[in-house]
Amino acid sequence: MPTLETIATRALMYQPSSAVAQPAGQPFWINKPAPWRLEPLAPSQTSMIGLESAAAYNRVLSTMRNQTYSSSDLLRPKASQPTLDEALFDAKASAKILISHVSMYLRQGWRDKLFYQLDNLLDPEEWDPDDKPLQKRSFDTFLKAICDLMPTARPGLGVSHSGNLIAAWRSGNSDRISLEFAPDGRVKVIGTRFIDQEPVPFSAQANVGNLKQALIQFNCSTWLGCA
């Protein structure tokens, strides 16, 4: 059962659909006709509902009139920022939808494995709030690369500070490569080859269209099992 204060508050905040935006800072009932221009209760009304309820009504009315509102407060529901959980959920959903669009081009088992990896990767309890959530277009670049390269070896997944997907592979002799997929189709290639047990780092920039050439150049395409 709503209290009288609640009812009065709702009445004061009520706006008909035809309401026009007020200038910022002005209560919406200024210069508006009844019914949304509310008045303090008259003595005869007070006697009808009792002193305590009337006092509550007048207190709410007074408070509301002393508050300031911007037109955006009054005419639109606030478009609140998504929480971290919501942002990660949305990112995960977007990525899974993209996977479902190309699943017929993926090798057997890849779809389910990517779903599993995304669930583990976009974990709100592990997420640094300063990091951007996974960017949909970055994931799109990743899928284009996978559909083009068709590697047999499945990558591990990570995310950069800016929300770009990173795919990483290791060879049997500990050579490694990580590919960071930018939303605009560029791919950052970083890796290490071990030559006589000495690490030799390498790096390059490629476009998703010529990524295979870069992998061949760094002798990675064989152990990735690229088609």
Binding site: G156, E180, P201
Partner: protein, 140 residues
């Protein structure tokens, strides 16, 4: 004990916190290493955050334990890992230009052993990769 802004001695050690999403993993999420992205700066950052192990003035293993506990009190993520490397080695690997690499003590009230690794920017990808491999040699 060092004062804020003083350089860490070359023979001492720093620890780097690496979040779950920047761990190198296999397809089954077994951890294999640190990604080079763990050593990239965010937009607007001008140093890499590390923690000075010898701040705790105990044996090496106890310093590691105390340092991890301290960082976890600020960053409670459970699956994050920590890498340790010697100051001199880090400075050697991170040097890629004429500008010196500096690791200075930069404590904050919530993170008493916090230190700053200043590297000339932009940090080349190969440097990030070398640091990722070095810090993973001693990881927790």
């Amino acid at each position: 004990m060092l004062k804020r802004g003083e350089s860490l001695p070359d023979e001492q050690h720093v620890m780097r916190h690496v979040s779950w999403v920047r761990l190198e993993r296999d397809e089954n999420d077994n951890v294999l290493g640190f990604l080079p992205a763990a050593f990239e700066l965010r937009d607007g950052e001008d140093y890499l955050s590390v923690n000075w192990l010898e701040y705790y003035e105990q044996a090496h293993a106890d310093n590691v334990t105390a340092c991890i506990a301290s960082v976890r009190s600020v960053l409670p993520a459970k699956k994050a890992r920590f890498g340790v490397a010697q100051v001199a080695k880090v400075k050697t690997l991170a040097k890629h230009s004429n500008k010196p690499v500096r690791i200075v003590y930069a404590s904050s009230p919530k993170n008493l052993s916090h230190s700053a690794l200043h590297i000339d920017q932009p940090i080349p990808d190969a440097v990030c990769e070398a640091l990722a491999l070095e810090f993973y040699k001693q990881h927790y």
